[in-house]
Amino acid sequence: MDLFVQTLVNGLLQSGLYALVASGLALAVGVVGIVNFAHGEYLMIGAFLAWAGSAFLGVDPLLSLPVIAVAVFAIGALTYRVSIRHVLLAPELNQMLLTFGLGILLQNLALMLLGGNTRTVTTPYQASSMQLGDLSVGGPKALAFGLAALLLGALYVVLYRTTLGRQMRAVAQNRRGAQLIGINVDRVYLIAFGVSCALAAVAGVLVSVLLFASPTVGLVFALKAFAIIVMAGLGNLTGVLWASVLLGVSEALVQTYVPGGGGWSDAVFFLMIFGTLVLRSYRGAR
């Protein structure tokens, strides 16, 4: 019984990281309407900035988190200005190829500038945990989960309780209609894409504390984020948290209870994408 409960806790904690990455991707898909294949690379930038702050300036990654979020927001906004903006009306295939190429470019830039080595961050709370009887709750992962819930809540408030949020929803529903009623669509897209990248960077900071920074660190999380937004429904922010929990817990259960389950963990999210798409098409057919 202890192992089962610990497995659920492990899955729940892992889902916090997944939710943080997926929330940004959901925002990009939901508002800007673009599937950003370079999303994991903004996570990588966040992880490297956290590592650099810690290694060269001695700044704790969690303290540098707001600065990193703002910096990556600016990088995201710049990316939007110089590239994304020009393909918004282009066919979806062009958009996907652009973001795919952008991802390769950023990854290779990191390789050229920083090399391929794994960089780790040392913090006093890295291995902190709360012990509840025999149960163990990892500190940084619990923080990631709390932060994910908080940020998703904040995003929800922004989207449904502020003028900017109403503008975002209007643009997401009908770009031309939003333009006709005087909304600066370009500005809304820029903010949404920048925030999306900043959210990936926030996840990156936590990834640097929990795991490492490397040019390819974003790939694993980006793939899982795609699975989550497919499960949640493309662009559905409110569904991101439960879809992340579902993925995290499913992975943990498979890893614990299926023989050789560690090797199957990647299959779990492909299976979930497959299952969701089949179920949706079945429902649609009815």
Partner: protein, 386 residues
């Protein structure tokens, strides 16, 4: 215009006839720490070789390529080096998965391979019938022989009885895992857990929970440097009580020794910079002079030895003819930072360099890797947690 043309012709001629060695390494991805270390070793050897007159009277040329630690990238890079760059010899090779992937093209082009890494047995199978395959790194069964020796010592003197095994699901971790379990059982250990994981995923929560339920004395993990910190973190967070956490990644994360989570973590290395061996001291001094720092990654001296012995064999052969160079390479008998290097048959390949007797077991103690076994090489007593 004429001057320009002449200069161009002279420049082209100066490189003409120079021996070219292609070096395929994981400069990015999961094996990049080993790959970068090896690259440094190759460049140091190249400097020394060319300073001493080069190869066949011309400066030796190296063509580096990044296999990205991925078979899909390794194959086109290998083919490019052989067919476009037209290298005379191939060196490098760290990952088993990429080495298996290139075994097909290597046989197709009958490439001369002076290979430093790739310890998994499927690589040995893949190159069993290759006439020009010189393998420097011990095969995994030699590694395991050394590990079993250490664990038997822990069983006798520290009462270590229960072993949990965590292994990555690629060829590096998975190949021969059944034989590993059998060998532990045969040696009188209880294998209380055998669990796969995805390298680089960093998700060790469920694995550590399972290990905690199994109550092992030793957790033996076979993975890459990217797994070291996440695993150590999870063990600490879940308060898993171990006698020893023992890992065999080809390299360790940069700066891992500075992190308190590395304390008492043990591992296997072919070489450490503190080795008293004379050739090792010479290598460390030369490395420090060139790079201003010291490395503990054994792929640096391994690459250094690899290129030096290859260059020496070509010079002795007096030609780049593969058969003649292979005949000279087979006669290699030199002292190296790892001890004496000679080539003799392994279970399946004809030319195997280092074997079981070259391994050292170390522990991270006080921000450094310290040899703790075999006892005659131990610089500090080992720390056993139970």
């Amino acid at each position: 215009m004429k001057t320009l043309l002449m200069t161009g012709v002279l420049l082209a001629l100066s490189g003409a006839g120079a021996v070219k060695v292609g070096v395929l390494l994981p400069l990015s991805g999961a094996g990049s720490v080993s790959g970068q270390a090896a690259k440094n070793g190759y460049q140091l050897a190249l400097d020394e070789i060319n300073k001493a007159g080069g190869v066949l009277g011309k400066p030796l040329e190296l063509e580096f390529a990044d296999d990205g630690s991925a078979p899909a990238k390794a194959v086109p890079e290998f083919v490019k080096l052989v067919t476009v760059e037209k290298v005379d010899f191939m060196a490098g090779g760290v990952s088993s998965a990429t080495s298996i992937a290139i075994s097909g093209p290597a046989k197709q082009y009958n490439t001369f391979m002076a290979w430093i890494g790739a310890a998994a047995v499927p690589v040995e199978d893949a190159f069993a019938d290759h006439p020009y395959f010189f393998h420097y790194h011990p095969w995994s069964y030699y590694n395991f022989e050394a590990i079993l020796g250490y664990f038997k010592y822990l069983k006798t003197y520290k009462k270590a009885k229960n072993i949990a095994i965590a292994y990555e699901d690629g060829p590096f971790g998975s190949a021969g895992i059944d034989a590993t379990v059998d060998a532990f059982k045969k040696a009188g250990f209880n294998v209380v857990m055998t669990e796969k994981f995805k390298t680089g995923s960093g998700n060790f929560g469920p694995l550590v929970s399972k290990a905690k339920a199994a109550k092992p004395d030793i957790l033996y993990w076979v993975g890459y440097d990217t797994d070291a910190l996440p695993l150590a973190t999870e063990i600490k967070q879940q308060n898993l009580q171990l006698g020893l956490l023992y890992g065999t990644p080809p390299s360790w994360p940069v700066g891992f020794e500075k992190n308190s989570l590395s304390d008492n973590v043990a591992g296997l290395s072919l070489w450490l910079s503190t080795s008293p061996n004379k050739d090792s001291r010479t290598f460390v001094a030369a490395y420090k002079k060139k790079y201003g720092t010291v490395t503990d990654e054994y792929f640096a001296p391994l690459a250094y030895v690899n290129l030096k012995t290859l260059a020496a064999a070509i010079n002795r052969a007096g030609t780049t003819d593969k058969a003649k160079v292979a005949a000279e390479m087979a006669k290699t008998n030199v002292s190296t930072p790892f001890g004496q290097l000679t080539f003799s048959p392994s279970l399946k390949t004809k030319y195997q360099g280092f074997k079981a007797g070259n391994w050292l077991h170390f522990q991270y103690l006080g921000d450094a890797r310290v040899p703790v076994f075999p006892i005659k090489f131990a610089q500090k007593p080992m720390v056993y947690g139970k």
